[in-house]
Amino acid sequence: MEIVIRELLNGNVIFWIFCLITIGGAAYVLFSKNVLYASYGLLVSFLGVAGIFVFAGGEFVSAAQIMIYIGGILVLLIFGIMLSSNKKAGKNYLKIENVDMPLSLGYAVGLSLIIILLIVKTKFDTANLKPLQHIKNLGYDLMTDSVLVLEIVGVLLLMALIGATFIAKNDE
């Protein structure tokens, strides 16, 4: 009993629960036959990831995850799904059909391998980690070392805005 309480206080159990939530949500996305349900599975998965970020000491990244992914991209996704209903498909417009199974499987496996490779190859500098004052460190870094990156991101976002609205407008 005492061990259980200690582990709970250490946060280990909760960390694994968040991992389970993330993986469970992702697995639901994978196996669900309904696009809309799948997107809600993605919501659960994103929430789990936000929880894991908190454990990694990145509260700001966690909040950003909630704001951008859940509050923005997923809303767009759901809008897209709701928008794409048409008379022809009728009631089945939410049904997922896997087209070109081997090809997409290849893509998925390839991308996952690249990500795993990146994670394994990267040397994380855990010795100089500053978990406290996380946002301020990020701010100083963005203002000094990564200032070019920041401005490039700004221009990139502008380009994305112009491109995306152009394409969406053309569809209308």
Binding site: A63, G71, F79, I135
Partner: protein, 380 residues
């Protein structure tokens, strides 16, 4: 350690009870204020002055039959109101209700939790608030509900941007995202509202829009969409939707009061604190001063709740194009201008003075160029 845990648990329970209780009595106040503004009596049957009306309403909602339409998506239909209520309650965790309590030589802050991203946490939860309505509205399989839900989602995300940029101008001044620090820097009457009046106005307007209150209650506008996103709902599920709206109202009032009006700070608080600690001893005096601060904060919150209701019975509803124009063509540019002025004034030796100078310069430029443009147009 266990002692602090116990106190914290008690605080959490209190915050829960407080936000729910205030939300319940907001419904009563709304009716009383509506009655006062429309010059009629209002609720007066349940208890003296109708004070038990919220209980009667809740009882009615509990005993009403609840049916799920056959064509509706059963699971999502039940989850929708639950999520709406949950997201409404979650953000109350970071509201700093008061200063510290001195118990057995330990200073314990009167707050659920003081995370260093407090305000971002609230902002994240606000962006989650879309889902309760979106899920419920879609699952009802009703045309009115779907339109209401989509309107709500679109409106919420539009006003979130102006709100976020205004938040930035508050953070520029305070340099911290923790709400407790932001409140602590507004000691006495050094409130943010005097430094950025425009930001305050934008923030209040955006909060009205985020809470789906009149004049932004397009998602449930009764003369076009029956009841909007909760057309198909009844019984306690409807109750959860209505209740979440009132909880949201309470929390946004609390956030406005803590960001711009200094929460539990009031002029002369240092004098009161030293007077009380001198007369009643270190521990009791400090605690009494804190309780006074909490009362001041609750007073401010109630003032904003009153403003919300006052606005509801004063302004007519916007049209959807007006609403979108206001979000993107007025609020967004204005909040960016406000951010630039506040940031520039922060560099100067006298932020307060330079803020107003900046605002005056902007107003001069804007109205001047508009007059010149209009004159040119009329000459042509």
């Amino acid at each position: 350690m266990e002692f602090i845990l116990l106190i914290k648990g008690l605080i959490i329970l209190t915050i829960f009870a407080l936000s729910l209780g205030i939300a319940a009595y907001e419904t009563y106040f709304e009716r009383v204020i509506a009655a006062y503004i429309q010059d009629r009596v209002g609720p007066d049957r349940a208890g003296p002055f109708g004070i038990l009306q919220p209980l009667a309403d809740a009882g009615k909602l509990f005993f009403k039959e609840d049916f799920i339409p056959t064509l509706a998506d059963k699971g999502l239909f039940i989850i929708g109101p639950g999520i709406a209520m949950l997201t409404a309650l979650m953000s109350s965790a970071v509201i700093p209700f008061g200063d510290t309590l001195l118990i057995k030589g330990q200073y314990i802050p009167v707050q659920g939790m003081d995370v260093n991203i407090g305000i971002l946490w609230v902002f994240g939860i606000v962006s989650l608030g879309v889902y309760g309505i979106l899920i419920g509205g879609w699952a009802s399989n009703n045309k009115y509900s779907l339109y209401g839900a989509i309107r709500a989602a679109s409106q919420n995300i539009s006003y979130e941007l102006a709100m976020g940029i205004t938040l930035l101008s508050v953070i520029v001044v305070t340099g911290s995202l923790s709400i407790r620090t932001i409140v602590g820097l507004q000691h006495g009457i050094d409130w943010n509202i005097f430094y950025q009046p425009v930001g305050f106005l934008i923030f209040v307007t955006c909060s009205l829009a985020e809470c789906n209150r009149t004049p932004f209650d397009l998602p449930e506008s009764e003369n076009e969409l029956v009841a909007g996103y909760h057309t198909e709902y009844g019984s306690m599920k409807l109750g959860l939707y209505l209740f979440s709206e009132y909880v949201n109202m309470f929390i946004s009032s609390a956030i406005i009061a803590s960001l711009f009006l200094g929460a539990y700070n009031y002029p002369g608080m240092d004098f009161v604190h030293s007077f009380l600690t001198g007369k009643l001893g270190e521990s009791f005096g400090h605690n009494l001063a804190t309780v006074l601060g909490i009362l001041v904060y609750i007073l401010k919150i109630f003032f904003f709740i009153f403003v919300f209701m006052w606005v509801r019975w004063t302004l007519p509803r916007f049209k959807y194009d007006q609403l979108m124009n206001m979000a993107w063509k007025w609020m967004m540019p204005l909040s960016i201008v406000n951010l630039i002025i506040v940031a520039a004034a922060e560099l100067s030796p006298y932020p307060l003075l330079f803020n107003y100078i900046g605002l005056a310069i902007f107003a001069f430029l804007y109205f001047g160029s508009r007059t010149v443009y209009n004159n040119k147009k009329s000459k042509l």
